[in-house]
Symmetry: C2
Subunit: 150 residues, 2 copies
């Protein structure tokens, strides 16, 4: 499946940060939009970096919690690996695996047209699978009852 | 593929926390072991919860950075969805998708025998794929050179 199709299944809204966005605000954006990574763009909309919850998490720990004065530019990654709308999602999955990353910005020239996460790829694959959750307490209860029906 | 096979491909070491582990120490464990989630076990080794970097990230933001007095028990998730070694990884992927989670503890009775992450599942799938990274600067340079050879 092409990345372009996957992006059609996602929200069209691309939440971005600028290099001067504060880390507190970036955290707000990540949490309130339930995303793990923000593309960072300049005034002209050109992609200049990405910043993930994990990047921030590590920096918070490094600074022992003194992160409030930091800006996105202090934490963002600028050596970017990107995908194209025409890529196959198997290629993007391979890039994520090889580089130990969880998000790949999809670009058209200098502009970001979407973000693909590990979750997006799993979502496409798991789409039509019927799943019943196995809760730990229920699982242990069933074991005690000697019911093998899990 | 069965979860048991996937776990054989991973490090056998299971890094755990206890409910009284400090959040600072949990962050240390997550970062130094390059993992996103810790199973929380009691003194007898029984699985009682999990705590992820994302759970901590959110709590740090909620507390505006005043997290140093928190312990794992204050942040961990206890309503657990678990997998079994005999499960197929497609089932685990479906569970992750359906429940918007990134980590599933794999149990044998009350004990955790491994953790499966979104990344682990992608890794199994991407294992034999040859990948060449597309770096943004190179991609843009190539476009400027009108080389279509990406």
């Amino acid at each position: 499946m092409r990345v372009a199709i996957l992006l059609e299944h996602k929200s069209k809204k691309i939440v971005t940060a600028s290099s001067s966005t504060s880390i507190d605000e970036a955290m707000d954006l990540l949490i309130s939009n339930k995303i793990g990574c923000l593309p960072v763009v300049d005034d002209s909309g050109k992609l200049i970096g990405i910043i993930s919850d994990k990047d921030i998490f590590k920096r918070i720990h490094q600074t022992k919690g003194n992160y409030h004065s930091l800006k996105v530019e202090d934490v963002m990654v600028t050596d970017l690996i990107v995908g194209l709308p025409d890529d196959d999602i198997a290629y993007i999955a391979g890039v994520m695996d090889k580089n130990w990353i969880r998000h790949v910005p999809i670009v058209d020239g200098e502009r970001v047209v979407g973000m693909v996460s590990l979750r997006d790829i799993i979502r496409e694959q798991a789409k039509n699978v019927e799943i019943e959750n196995r809760y730990l307490d229920l699982y242990l209860g069933m074991r005690r009852d000697k019911s093998g029906d899990i």
